[in-house]
Subunit: 149 residues, 2 copies
């Protein structure tokens, strides 16, 4: 189920535009918990890929592919849970003030996760390493801008 | 990326057998948070399908298919996070005493989620309803046996 990058961006943007929190979450606490849960899962699988990319864990091509596939799917999920009226957690209020900028970051993570998954499918550690850096930078730039410590 | 039921069961069992917590999670708190996170996400998407199956929300074939696809992927994830030494949270100690029985429940959820996803893909509400009941029963029987309140 390989998707092109434009298709992914379109899908991500469509999800962002068409998902009012009211329609998806019974209460704002559920939205907060949902985005925290999905981002934690993203972080766990990303961390496993990073350990391999950075030589801190032995490279296991099959494990890398599985982790990247989960990452590709779960990276699409958190964004519908930042709907109006769901402020809270570590999410800075700027997210709701600069929604277009935030959505750009979200779309970028979805795109980078897809690239990482494609790289992992090659079974080539060099390609995984090359795709990991930009993906990690995407996490960091969004956290720096929109996550409080 | 449709998989046969035997393939799914094999994949699930393989994941359960080949995933020592030590290899996947930096500390047991991460394993606990990971299984809580993934099960929460499962519950959210399952709840959306249930609302449609039970007539509490209008049937939206596209949304049903998307929710079921996420469910199918995420339902495979929690089980690697019940490794040795990761007792805690709402997980009853019986999980580690009756691991074979617990794993049966896990495999069953993975299988039911795949059936639910296949049903959702038909776009037929009657098929979604038919697949929802057994899946809900699978959640309940495992929670009754292995989750403390």
């Amino acid at each position: 189920m390989k998707k092109t990058l434009p298709a992914l961006l379109l899908a991500a943007s469509a999800a962002l535009l068409s998902a009012p929190a009211s329609a998806q979450f019974a209460k704002s606490e559920d939205a907060i918990k949902y985005r925290q849960s999905t981002l934690f899962v993203v972080g766990q699988h990303f961390g496993r890929l990073g350990a391999m990319a950075n030589g801190k864990a032995p490279f296991d091509a099959k494990a890398a592919q599985e982790n990247a596939a989960v990452l590709e799917t779960v990276a699409k999920l958190p964004w519908s849970a930042f709907g109006d009226g769901t402020q809270g957690g570590k999410a800075k209020a700027d997210i709701w003030k600069e929604k277009a900028k935030f959505n750009e970051h979200a779309d970028q993570l979805v795109a980078e996760a897809a690239k990482l998954s494609a790289a992992a499918k090659t079974g080539d550690l060099a390609q995984l390493k090359a795709a990991f850096g930009p993906a990690a930078q995407t996490c960091k730039s969004c956290h720096d801008a929109f996550r409080s410590r």
